[in-house]
Every structure is written in C-alpha cells, then in structure tokens.
Subunit: 281 residues, 2 copies
Amino acid sequence: MTDGTSGDLARLSLNQETLKQWSLPELAAGCAAAGITRVGLWRAPVQEYGIEQAARLMRDSGLTVTSLCRGGFFTAAEPKARAAALDDNRAAVDEAAALGTGTLVLVSGGLPDGDRDIAAARQRVADAIAELAPYAAERGVRLAIEPLHPMYASDRCVVSTLGQALDIAERFPAEQVGVVVDTYHLWWDDRAPAGIARAGEGGRIACFQVADWVTPLPEGVLLGRGQLGDGCVDLRGFRAMVEEAGYSGDIEVEIFNPALWARDGQEVLEEIVDRYRRHVL
Amino acid sequence: MTDGTSGDLARLSLNQETLKQWSLPELAAGCAAAGITRVGLWRAPVQEYGIEQAARLMRDSGLTVTSLCRGGFFTAAEPKARAAALDDNRAAVDEAAALGTGTLVLVSGGLPDGDRDIAAARQRVADAIAELAPYAAERGVRLAIEPLHPMYASDRCVVSTLGQALDIAERFPAEQVGVVVDTYHLWWDDRAPAGIARAGEGGRIACFQVADWVTPLPEGVLLGRGQLGDGCVDLRGFRAMVEEAGYSGDIEVEIFNPALWARDGQEVLEEIVDRYRRHVL
C-alpha cells in the first residue's frame, strides 16, 4: 500500500508497554519488519531515550505515534501536590506534541491516603481537566480520559466507567477532551454498549485499546492482562461496537503481562499479529 | 435489654467467615460473651457440623441467623450442570429454612470456561432464579442477589452492580427476591446511591454487609477485604444511605482476611466491635 500500511494491519497500533523487553529502536525495527506502522508510547521510556530523539526515530522508521500514556493523577487535594500534578501534565502535553501524537491518555488518579470521599476526588479530576484542556488544545493535543476497571478505583483511577468518563469529557469541546475505550477495563459493564454509542455520537472516542481478561489476577492486579484470545472478552464484539458508533481509528494492543515480557520480542509480536487477526478483525 | 440484644450492638451480625478460625461452638460462645445476638452462616461449615445440630446450637445460644451464604453459581449452560446447580440451590434453601433464616445470599456465578457471552450468562442467572424463587418462597426463604465487585465478573459473579441485581430482582415479588448491599463490592460505583434508594423504595434490601477496601489486592483478589476503618470506604455514609432508603435491619460484618484469621478470635472480635462503633455507627 502506498501509505506504508500493510493491508489488514493498517489500523493496528502496538502499545510500547506490550513489548516492554524492547528498546525504542528495537520496537521501531520490529514494527517496520512486521508491517506495523503505528505505536503507542509511554512517557518514562521516551524521556529516557530523549523526546526529540524518539520523535526522530519514529519519523525515520515511518511510524505514527497514536497516543502517549499518560497524564493524569489529578486527585491530590493538597494545593502544592495539585500544582505539581498540573505542571507535570503540561509537560506531558508538550511531550505528546513533540512526538506528533494528538492523543494524551489520562489515568485520573486514586484516592489520597486516608481519603474516603471518592465523589470529591472525581470532582477534582474534572477541575484539573478544565485547567489543562485549553493548554493541550493550543498544542494540538486532545486529552483522552481513560476509565479504569473499578478494581483500580482507590489507588489509580477514580474514573471507573465509560459513563463517568463521558460525564467529565462532555463538559468540554469534543476536539479537546475525549475518552479511551479499553476492553480490559470495560468488558464487564452492561452499560458499556450504551456508553460507546454515546461516545461515538459525540465524537469522543479518542483511543480504542484491546487486551483480554484472564484470571486469577496477580497480586496488585496491575500486570494480569491477557493476550488477545486467552480470556473471556468478546474483542470482536467490542470492535464492532466502536465501529457501529462511527470509530474507524487505531486499534491499540496494550497488554501488561510479565509472561509476554519474558519471551523473545519478535516471537511475541508475531503472536500478537496472529491473535489480532483471529480475535479482533 | 429484654430481647437479649446489647444496646448499640443490637443490629450487628457477625458473619462466620470473618472469624473462620472459630468452630461453630466457639462462634456461639464468643458472640454470647460479647453481647452479639446475630450471626451470618456459611453452608460448608454448617454442613460439616450438621444442619440440625447447628440450628439447635444457635437457638440454645440465643443467636439469630441473619443469612446463609450461599446459593447461586447459576451460569452453567450445559443442561446437566445447570440441573445440578438448581438441585444444590434447593438444598441451600432447605438448609436456610432449617437454620431459621429468611435470607439466602446468592453469588450468581461467573462465565463458563471458554464462554465470552456475559449477557447470556446474566440471562441464565435470571432464568435460574425464576425456577428457584417459588420453591424458596414456599419455605419462607427470600433469595438475596449479591452484586459482586466487577473484578469477580469472570470467575465468580456476572452480576456486578446493584442496578443489575435490581433489574433481576424486580421481576419477582419483593418478598421472594431481594438484593445484598455490600460496601466492599459497591463502594466505587457512583450509581450505588441511586441503586440503594431504588432498592429501598421497592423493599428489596435483604441484607446489608460491611467490609473495607484496602490495597494492594492479594493474588486471586478473594481474601483481601479490610478490617472496618482500615480502608477508603465511607462505611458510615453507606449505613446512612441504606437507612435513608428505609432499611433498619442487620448490619453484617463480613471480612475475608487471612491476617484476621491468624489472630486470636476473641481479640479480633473485640477489635471488630470497636471498629464497628467507631466507623459504622
């Protein structure tokens, strides 16, 4: 294909964290060899490599950066911590702009120590986004609120459902604030289909991520995402829902799983492409 | 007090699993000594002790059985497994009746191996309850659908929110099918307050259970419930919500936590009473 994409992989974006064992140059080379033209990046490894260097590497490798993970952690109540969080988020916006991606994924943050008022924490998220959204919009970056599974509500993200994410996003212009639809976080929710339709209608789907749900969950529940097809999520059904809602953008594979990280990256990438074809397309 | 209850502990029910280190006679003696007159029981330890013997022990100790855990696991699609589940649930109803409790808690079941259709599994739950409810009603037992935290949706309970539980319960007369409001499962849900009001209005709150939410979650996420006051749940706020909704029944303390089980039962019971007074009342 003339645009460098490769047939049925044209919409596949590989989130960097899925192949944590790879350096940025390895990621770029691996994707190019596999016919994958899109990647999602994370701030820490990009900072370590150098923002400008990473941007150049991606460009030179013909890779489009579909999203940067992540801003957020907006829930501090203490003014100094709150100001620091906003500063850090402005830096994240700058990094996204430098990488050429229009999407900064936001993980909103959990409850501060000793805090039992989750409604107030959610309000602080909305307030922080109100401060950040214009700054991001001026730089061509859209904020993408990611609802995380309710098991992360206390320590990572008080925004637990697509409905909550939309309640916040819809206070802002659609081109400034959208939402992330991630199958791992939403698969259980009987209201997710209605939320996806609502998000699509408003042009709010900024990012679509896929991972499977497998049990038992590991201690800390952070690194237990399943390879596509290994779990109980109807991935193809989710793809159909976001498409029905009008989304035709990237499909980002984001799997945090030490068992995948322990294997040869090339082999894992081939497996992902195979699973993507069998379970998502 | 003439009814044997002890002042501010009158509504406190101790769920047996909270003090798993105690035998049934130890539980009965410990509760009597602490002025606790209500207990929630589990099928396995009661069966082991003998149903009739357990019923007699509770009566002789002046203890009221507030609930029996648990029926459910209704999600098998295969006819033979499905019939076996219904048989087992009828046995659970009989056991509840023999113990003199009017409340059988239902944990609905997860997804069968290889199944990716959670909507169909939820429908099978509703279908099974339709078969079971009349049998239970004839024996004076009310089925109490317990929504479990979404992190259990695949392996334990496809009913994940109070709204879903009510959607099923409301197909039946309120005296036949109610719901369980458990703070551990519902604390994160911004729609729980509306669900509690709806449940109260319909007379559907069959059981109110309290435990706190603490992290990190342990592997398997089953045994990580927090002692009252150790976590981020606004327990008193939940009590106020169920009371505002018209509920004035038992407040059952149900905490699965190996750290509590490893300690002296008497000491744990005293701590629970203290925490109950400080964080729930």
